[in-house]
Each structure stands twice: as structure tokens, then as C-alpha cells.
Symmetry: D3
Subunit: 267 residues, 6 copies
Amino acid sequence: MVYDTIGASPVAWAGKPYPAVRSVAERDGSVAVVPVGSLEQHGHHLPTATDTILADAVATTAAERVADGMPILVTPPLWTGHSPHHTPFGGTVTLDGGRLLALLEDTAGSVLGEGFDGLLLLNGHGGNGALVSSATSTIGSTHRDAEILGVTYFDLGAERIGEIRESDRGGAGHAGEIETSMIAHLRPELVDMDAAEGRPWESPYDRTRDDLSHPGPLAAYADFDAFSDTGAVGNPELATAEKGERFFEVFVDEVGDVLERLHEQAG
Amino acid sequence: MVYDTIGASPVAWAGKPYPAVRSVAERDGSVAVVPVGSLEQHGHHLPTATDTILADAVATTAAERVADGMPILVTPPLWTGHSPHHTPFGGTVTLDGGRLLALLEDTAGSVLGEGFDGLLLLNGHGGNGALVSSATSTIGSTHRDAEILGVTYFDLGAERIGEIRESDRGGAGHAGEIETSMIAHLRPELVDMDAAEGRPWESPYDRTRDDLSHPGPLAAYADFDAFSDTGAVGNPELATAEKGERFFEVFVDEVGDVLERLHEQAG
Amino acid sequence: MVYDTIGASPVAWAGKPYPAVRSVAERDGSVAVVPVGSLEQHGHHLPTATDTILADAVATTAAERVADGMPILVTPPLWTGHSPHHTPFGGTVTLDGGRLLALLEDTAGSVLGEGFDGLLLLNGHGGNGALVSSATSTIGSTHRDAEILGVTYFDLGAERIGEIRESDRGGAGHAGEIETSMIAHLRPELVDMDAAEGRPWESPYDRTRDDLSHPGPLAAYADFDAFSDTGAVGNPELATAEKGERFFEVFVDEVGDVLERLHEQAG
Amino acid sequence: MVYDTIGASPVAWAGKPYPAVRSVAERDGSVAVVPVGSLEQHGHHLPTATDTILADAVATTAAERVADGMPILVTPPLWTGHSPHHTPFGGTVTLDGGRLLALLEDTAGSVLGEGFDGLLLLNGHGGNGALVSSATSTIGSTHRDAEILGVTYFDLGAERIGEIRESDRGGAGHAGEIETSMIAHLRPELVDMDAAEGRPWESPYDRTRDDLSHPGPLAAYADFDAFSDTGAVGNPELATAEKGERFFEVFVDEVGDVLERLHEQAG
Amino acid sequence: MVYDTIGASPVAWAGKPYPAVRSVAERDGSVAVVPVGSLEQHGHHLPTATDTILADAVATTAAERVADGMPILVTPPLWTGHSPHHTPFGGTVTLDGGRLLALLEDTAGSVLGEGFDGLLLLNGHGGNGALVSSATSTIGSTHRDAEILGVTYFDLGAERIGEIRESDRGGAGHAGEIETSMIAHLRPELVDMDAAEGRPWESPYDRTRDDLSHPGPLAAYADFDAFSDTGAVGNPELATAEKGERFFEVFVDEVGDVLERLHEQAG
Amino acid sequence: MVYDTIGASPVAWAGKPYPAVRSVAERDGSVAVVPVGSLEQHGHHLPTATDTILADAVATTAAERVADGMPILVTPPLWTGHSPHHTPFGGTVTLDGGRLLALLEDTAGSVLGEGFDGLLLLNGHGGNGALVSSATSTIGSTHRDAEILGVTYFDLGAERIGEIRESDRGGAGHAGEIETSMIAHLRPELVDMDAAEGRPWESPYDRTRDDLSHPGPLAAYADFDAFSDTGAVGNPELATAEKGERFFEVFVDEVGDVLERLHEQAG
């Protein structure tokens, strides 16, 4: 038995022969999306590829929804993220910052070389966020005739997410209510709700991110075992597939909106 | 609709929570496999992710077959290969040689840091072959207590493949009889047999590789449009899903054998 | 009083002989601050070193205020920032992203090698923000026994700033009301208020930063001449030295608070 | 008068708005000067920024003196030098050789991109000397239409310096008579003459530099604590502000002469 | 006659003044050869420069033989190879993989910049083989108007070599029958036949190279002391100068044939 | 007698089997010498490898002379120097500065890893001088238990050389009286005295090197065709083999003296 659906979506670059890729790239205002994830611990209850699965799913679904109105393709997800803070637990593959920056720049350079007019780096891992932003700047300044965006999907739609979630601020931490719910919705066979144990997000600094939906201005390095002995932070036990679907729809909708504006600008 | 089975196999690192990854890594003689593919033109009839799909499928299936007898996991496939010679066609994402070498080294370093005793880089793209071999040497010399192997799957089992194929030497070129047959077996929805048009592999040098099953000692750079206006070389029109299954079984068997020896050595 | 002559402040590393530096570094909970600025166009009315002057002044003044309670030193400011988006105007010196990341990592590594227990990278330029955050992660993960923070000063204290400013959202853009006011307070001889002409910050994307005090989740590359023909964005004409002093005090206060917590954690 | 507040001098790039920088750059034979210093131990009596202060002061004052006759600007000083040999003492921030070389090349590339016709890298630290020369070659060969010079200021005017100094050869070592006198002249508040204790410069090799004014052909690596337990070498106790002024005038005069020839050649 | 004094051969770039180099480079179909060797242990009986001597001799002699019919020059040999697996013995200088790749690329770029139409990287060390192939790809894809080849000389002419050798498969290992015979032919004063002691090549993997004339598809890292306590593998004791001449002639002939085809293609 | 066949000298690392290299390295105060040359134009009358031949000959002969009193070996010469200023003529292979610096560091690191106590980088090309000095510092600071020196041989013995030469200052320029005489002595078959035409060394700067024996403090980049249409500078026509022998003896003697002191220090 082979488990593998690389390239199954109608917007997947991977599944198309090259003439089909080229014909999309050559259309006016064409857009490529590169999902960026990680392979890292997500508690005892979520798979290590959680960020990659979610970035890929949000990117692909959002692209499918807007594909009627614009030429768009999604590459396979980059799963080698920057996760040094998770290495104390195990299960983690990580690149150092400079290497990930270079990988993003090189991948983007090659994608743009195909003729796409716009590019979105869609990130699903907090630890990659600053590097994706940095890459956006470098890519943009070396490809000035293309339109370049970068975003971490869960930084979008905070207000709408707030209306769905049940946990208080902090409950939607790493492998917490939001991520667990969405994996329960999208890949229920990969969640072990019995093993879902989060810990409260207690930081000595009150200006850092303290929830997936609440970023903060202060970057503070900490190995993740300082926050949680299980690797999960927040309230994964509140997760449900039903909420997962609603969270997912918000993010897909927000990213879809970004894609539409990107298409307009890139045209 | 979301198309995505990252982590679906029982040997997939991606689908497991970290305690499960760690428990495999810690067993004696544990083995990790990193599939290495590409995203590049494969003629008018095969998807751009052909090499990634095949490397992933061979690696995963081989690992599943031997998993009873050894602790083993497979990471997601690296799909950013080295394919400058395919860029004249389109549909191609490529890293330069030094960057891919570094990506392989960094990924391997992180995998081995988890405690695996053995590592196999399983490559599915000819253009990556030398870099995977080079990486094997660098990784091996900087992780001397682990056992490191690298191989391009279609360099294995040449004799058994020869008994199955119908084309003459040269017919199993890039996107030719072998690759097309295997995609027809594994992912039939991604093949367009009506568009399968190969061209004969005519090289000015008689010492270069001239068939997937016939490597040669001479490395000669050539943009691929020098060989074929369709991007395919050899006889894809001879491909069948039935032969694809047989080719696939040979490669899975050969890689399984390599994995068993790797496990013994790593123990 | 603001000290920006090299080594003039009582907390300046630069002005002390080495035994004095070492004796600070060796005390429990010792903290080093590295200001990070830029040399780039700031409209017709502000000096190119605006970001460097402000990062240096905020860092140094904040450190002086807390120096009674903790061992602390401030290095000279790094003035080679990442500003490719400002090069269309002139007056700009810029490093690419990977180089600035490496410079921050190397500088921090050397500073920490002196024995400091905590480090704050205090940034004063928006274009450096993501790189400073990225550097915080790399530095933190390679110096796990030290406490590492990174922040862009104007991302702090948004509410208090809002009570002082007169412009609407967007008025405190690049070289706008806030920066102009603070330079008018700290270095009045370097401001030419007659030449202060900002342009409204009009972005096609509603999720990007649109004011010094309003960051957004979306990174979008754009050469700055797309926003303003003068190089300034917002309402610099509303700037006054009196407001500049009040803005400055807010930022100094916020950074001082971060330093105190850093000292506690590093102890 | 020496200006070392950021941007205070009339020739300081840092203190000017971009239109003023550009208008200098665009004039015929325009020249930019980049001072290169260090942050490193200079005995018990001199500040760690000694080399940066002196390179900046010599560059700025020389440029001011010739500014009537040529378009010229001085950037802020680079203070992250190459000082591994001083790390045993403390107080030192150092970049490795390749990194400093790259920083010099990148900074110069950006400066020249503004349109300057000539560039002088003016170095104030012995440990940077070879790297500044190396950078001159790389920069020159990649910007063949500009005129590129590099020099360590104290390698100029040896004969005239010899007429002023009181110490014998060796007395003007690191933090010795010359550097101490000039800091006493320029920044008297930063010198502690009571703590000025040099040690004789005794090298096992008679072909190495053995005085600021006596370079030698042989490069020999030695940690500086092999020469001096105080970190200072030579006769700092002979230093006076009066001699400092005379030393400084010689160097300013020599550098001014270099700048005038550079302007002629760059025109 | 073999010329291995620097510049002594009539086809040696090194021995010619630049006008003579340029005049060769400018002719139609001009070819440059860069020999690539190593400095590494070759048992108790062969010199550490064995691979460099042999690559240089094969390249130079082959080029001399074809020089009547084509414009051709040979650079001095690069002797800094990739040999981490030999370091346990001593006598070895090695570059890591990325550095050697870069050195090959840079050297080739400079050679091609002189105007040569074709380039052959002629390798004499197994540990360099994959890197030379990788470099061929990178060089080729960045110099698309030149013809680029790479080969390890002993991968050529396997059948003809088989008719000469006396040892069984495995007997022509590292410092075995073939290399020893050729050094005995070319530089007899550097061989100590009394010290020639090989060990059988016993690999746990049956798909790796197990003889100079029998490459395999599997790359497996192993420190060489796992194979042999003397550093030599196979049957060096069977070596004779007479066979060495015959081996050498086969390789020279094969490489000469490659050069002729390269010239035709490059024209 | 000068040995420049690979491995021919009794002090040549290249010609020895590894046990002999190791036994030298392990003796107390052992010294390794790495000659560093170039492959670049040297006028119409000297071979492109002039600097490599001379650095190798000086290093090897000096080492042979002192080998009775100390354990010493010489590696083959590195011939890929830094010569961008000579590329306008042809015949030149050049590495950029950072690459050569890295090659020197890596080579030295590997040499020192064999157990040598001291290292001399002996340079024969002006364009490499600063990079060799830079490398000395980096190597020294990362191998603090070894003794590291770097020198350009013609910077030694200026006074004694002055007594031999007939040309005035400037006559011993690039490919001038000194280099031509020494090649005429060591490799007479490679000199074409009829083609020896130098041009006067006229620099707009009076502080740069203006003769092989007269270095200057100022680094000024200039393509070499600004100095000479033949590529040679000075008075090669005054060269004789007899003077060449005398020049050579001075340099060998000076380097021998450096080696003896190095051995004492390294012991």
C-alpha cells in the first residue's frame, strides 16, 4: 500500500505536466503559493507534521476557492522549518535561520523564474514567522517586477477566531485548541485526544506572543520545555473537529482574500 | 476539499507524535530514510513531481515491508532538487548544487540528532545523484558513529528490470518506459498516455548514462532540450500500469534489502 | 540628556577600559544591549542616520535609568541595516538579509562570550524587524545558558503613544510624526521642518503595517517610492520637539521595563 | 575640533538628508570614506573603542579639511573589527576574517551604488589591516569604474611621527605612546593616565611589526597576553595631550593628501 | 614520457606566457583540462600524492597525444581533494564537500572566462568522484555556451583493464594493483614494494564500489581503517611497472577519445 | 638543485607514504610549509606559473637546508591565487578573496590536524599578500596551540636584494628584474628574454608598493593594464640567471631563518 497524494489538488503544481504549469504562469496576474511548515513536536496528541499539514491545507483550499477568478498554483509544502526551541523533546527536524532564509529565497527565485507575477509564502509555524518576513524582503528586492507577500496564516482573522474559540487567551498555544481542532477536522486519524494535555503559557515577559491569535512585539528565545512538559501549551482538551472546521474556514477565507488582492496587484 | 495524506503511512515520521518518533529512534539499529526528489518537467504526460512521488513511494513501501524486523521511519520527501538542465521547459524548481548539498547535510544532521543509528538518503532524480553521494560522504564523516548510505533507486536491480521492460536500451530515459509505467501504476490519474511522446536519447558521448538502467562514467552537462523537444526521452508509449507494478516491486525489494543490511550495520 | 558621542555615556561599553567591561559582565544577571539602526533616506527633512540615532538614544537612556539596579552596558549601534526598499531614493547603505542576520549573530556571540547573562537587540528600523527576531532565535538556540531578547522599540507602548500623537493612523509613518518629533527633541540641528513633506500611506493590502504604532500580520515588499515621492510617509509637519520628548519618554520607559525583566530572568 | 557625535560633522553622511547625500555623490570625482575600527581591550587606561574613535576622528577631520576642494562624505565608523588576539582580556567584540571581509565588501558596494566615484577604507586597527587591503582588491575588481583605496592611518607619516615621539621603537605599541596621546588630546575624559602601564614588545620574530610606526613583512599570530599582562605594549606613560595633537595633525595631513589624490584619480 | 614538473609539458598552461595561453583559448573548439587529485594516505608503499600524480599524468599525456588535432591546454592539478575517510591514518589534507565543489566551480569559471570552448575535469580520486560530477552540472548550467565534462579516469576502459590485471575483483582497490603499477611505471622512486601490503576489500554492502574498475550504485560512508589496517586494499604486491605502463596507456587512450569528442562538440 | 616535480624533494609531503608524514608531524617542534602562488600573466616572457614556481622553489629549498635540524615538510603549492587585476591580459585563473581565504584556512586546518606544531604560509604573489596575512590571523586564533606564520617571500631581505639588483626602484616590478632572473636561474627553458619588455611603474599614488622590494602602506586597486601594455613592469631586460641565483639564495636564506625561529617557537 502506498500512501501518497502529492499533486492531487487541481491547483497543485506537483500534479501537473509542465505545459500546464507554464500556461498558468504565463497568464496575466498569475500567482504561486509556497506553503512553509515544520516537522516538530506538537505534544503527545498531534503529529509532528502538524504545521506542514495545516499550511498546506489552508494554502491549497484557499487557492482552490479563488482559482476560478485567477491563474494560481500551489507548490508542495516546505517541511524543513526553523524549530531549535523544540529540539529538547524529539521528533524535530530543523534548519538554522540562515539556511532556511536561503532555501526560501532560492525556492522563490526558481518559482518566479517560471514567470509567475505574484508569490505568497504561506507559513504555518511560529518559529518560521520572522524568517518568512525576512525572505519576503529579500525576494522582493531582488525581483522588483513581481509582487511578493509573506504571512503566517494564524496571524490573520484574530477577531473572527475569537468568536469561535472557547479557551481564554493562552489556550490557543502551540498544539492547543486551534491547531488540535483543525487537525481533528482535517486528519482525525492523526489526533489522540486522550493524550491531549496542555500547560498554561506562562512567560516572564508580558510583551511576547502568548496565544496563536495574540502576537506580541517582543522576541524572546526559550526552549519549549520551559513552558510545558508535554510539549503542548494551552487547552487542547477543548478541541473539537466542529470548531476545527470553523477555524479552518476563517483562515481559508482570510488567505483567499489576500490572494485576490495579490492577483490584482500582480496583474 | 483538502487533498493531503502527509503522514498516512505507519512508517511516516510526519504522522506520529514526538514520543512515538523518539521511541523508534532510541531502539537499537534504528533507521531513518529521507526521500529526495525534484519538481521538474517530465514530458507532456507525467506530473512535475514524478521523481518526488516515486522516491517517496519506493522509500515508504520498502520501509513498511521491513518494519516488522527493524525500527524505521521515513521523513517527508525533499522536493527541491537540482534540475538546472530542465529549466528550458518550465515547471521546474531547482536549487544550485551547493545549496542542495547543504540542505541534505542539515536535514540529515537534524535527523541523526534524534538518535537514529542509520540513515538512507533515497534519491529519485538523476540530477541529484552525485549530490546525494557527496552528501553521504560529508554526513558520514561528521557523524562517524552512525551508518550513512545514499542511493538513487533506479540504479538498483538493473538486471531484473531488464527482464520486465520492452524497450531497448535508451527507451527507459527521462519520463520514459519505467517512470511512466510506475506513475501509471501508483497514480494513474496523473498520467496522460495520449500525450506521451519520447524522443531517442542521442548523446554525442558514448560513455554517459543513456538509460535509467544504464549509468555511465562520464558526466556531461546538457540542457535537456538538446535531447527532446517534448521533454521526454525513450519510449513512454510502451508504458503500462502492469509493468509499472513489476518495476516498482523490484525497486522496493532492492531498497528493502539495502535497509536490512543498513539495520544490521547500524546495530 | 542623551549621549550619542562614542563612549560618552556611563553605560557605554565603548568608553570603558576592558577591566570595567569585564567587571560588569561578571556580575550576576548582567545585561548587554546592542542597538541596531540603519543609514537610509528619511525624507527631505530628517538625517539618514535617524534610525541609528533613535535606537542608540532609546537604548542608552533606558539603560542609564536602570543602571542603578543592574549591571548593564550598551555597545555602539550597528548602523548597517537592511533597507533595499529605500535604495531608489539615495543616501542608503544596506546589507542583504542573510548578511545582517550573520552580523547580528556574530556580534551577539562575541558579546555573550564576554560573560553577559542577558542580551537585548534593540532595533530602530522597520526593515530590520524580522531579521532581529530571526537573530534572536538563532542566538538563543546557540547560547542556551543566556537570556536573549529582540525588539523594535516603536512596537512598544502603542497605547501610550496614541495618547500623545495628533495624527491619525498612518500619520506616524516612515519619517512621520513620531520619528520627526523625536529627532527634533534629541538633535534639533538635524531637522529641516520646512522640508518636511509626508505623503499618505496607501497600501493595496489592508493587513500590512500602516503606521509606526500599527504593525500588521502581512509582509509585502514594496519599493518605498511607491508610497511617497518625498520618501516620508504620514504627517511630519505635525512634529514638535515637545511631543518628541514625550514619545521618547514612553519608549525609554517601555524598554527600561523590558530590561528589568531581562535582568531578573538572566540572574 | 573633532566631531564624533553621530552625524555632527559637516562631512558626515549620517547627519544629512538623502538629497544632500545624493548631490555630493553625483558631483564629479566624489569621494566616500568608511572608517573601520574595533571594540577591543586597550590596556587599563584607554577605552575599548579607541581604534574606532581614532579612525573616525582622523577620517572626519581630514575630510573636513579637504571638503572645500572636493565633494566628500564620511560614513559612520564600522566598529566590529577582527580582534581574536585580544579576546583573552575581555571587553572585545570580534568578527572572524571572512565575515569582516564580506561586511567591508557589502558596505562598499552599497556606498558605491550611490554614485560615488572614489572610496577610501580608513582603518584604525592593526588586526584589520590585511583584511582592509584584501577588501580593497575585491571591491576594486568588482567596481572597475570606481577608484578604491584602503589604508591603516598609522602606517602613514612614519618619519614625521618619529620626530614627535619620545619613546624608542616599540614604545608606540598597542595602547602605547601614540594612541594614548591622541585619546588624551581628543577625548581626555576617557583616559586614566594613572592606570597606564605598558610592557615592552618582545617578539620571538624580528620581522614582525614591533611598533605602530614600524610594520614588518612577517605575519605571526599571537594572543596578546603573550606580550603584556596589562594589555598595553610600549610606553603609554610618556603620552601627553600635546603630543597627541601633533600626532593627530600628522595623520590628518597624510590622509588629507591621500584624499586629494583619490579625488583627482576618481574625477 | 610523463611531464610532472610544473609547466614542463608542451600542453601545460603553467609553462606558457599569457599570449600563448590566449591564442590557444581563442581557437575554435579549444579545450582546457583541469586534473583533480588528492593528498591522502595510499598505504605504506605509495606516496600521498598518488592521485594527483596520476590524474596529472593521464591528463597531460592524453592531451599531448591529441594536441596535433585540437587546441588544448592542461592546468596544474588541484591537489586539495575530499578525503575525510582517510584521515584516521595521517598524511591527508582534505576539504569538505561544499568547499571542494566551490573550488571546482570557481576554477572552472576562471578557466572558461579565458575563452575556452570546452572543459574536462579529470579526476583521479574516488572520494572526489561525486563532487566532480556535481560540479560538472553546476558549471554547465552557468556556462551554457561551453561544453563541460567530468570524469574519474579509472571509471573508463574497465574491460580493457580487466585483460591486463592479474588480481581478481577487489584486488585493484585503493593503493592496489592498478595504482601501484602505474606509480611504479611513472615514478618508480616513490614506490616501496617491500612495504606493499593490501587487505581484502570486505564491505557489508554488496552494491558499493568494490574495485577501481567496479563501481557500484550505493554510496556508503566508511572510515578507511574499517577496510584495512595498512591503508591499502587489494593486491598491490601483484603490481609491476610493466603492467603499470599498460594500464596507463589504456586510461590515456580512453581520455584521449573523450577529449576528441569534447573538441568536436565544443567547436 | 630545485625540485619542482611533485613529491621529488626529500622534504616533500607529496612524495612520502603516510607513515613518513606522520612521523615527521609527531616530532617535537614539527613544521609544515604551504607555498601559495598564482596562475597569471607575467608579461610576454615569463610563464603564467611564475609565482607558483618561485614560491615552491623558495619554500622547498629553504626547507631542505634546515631539514637536518628540524622536522619539516612542504606541501604542494596552491596555485589558485587572487589575481583579478591581471584578468585583462589572459592566462589567469583567479579566486575571489573570500574563497582564497577559506581555502587557506581549510588547507591549514587539515595540515595542523596531522599534528604539526608550526605552519608557514609562504606566498609568492603580491595579490595574495593581504589574504595570506588575514589567513594567518584566522588560523592562529582557531589553532591556539600551534604557531602560525605567513609571509610573502620577496618582502624579506630587501637590503641584501638591493646590493644585487641593477635596476633602480621600480625596476623590480611584476615580471621585472628579480622574478625574471630567478626563473632564468631555475627554469631557463621557460623564459623568452627576447620578449622581455617591461614598462615603468607609474602610480598616481606615492604610498603604494612600487617595487617587489618596496612595499607601501596604501592599497590601491588597479587593473594591471593601467601600468603596462605588455603585462610586465620594470626592467626584465636586465635579468640574468647569475643574478637570479643570487636573489634566490637571499630569499632561501631569509626563509630558512624564519623557519628556524618558527621551529624554536613551535617546540
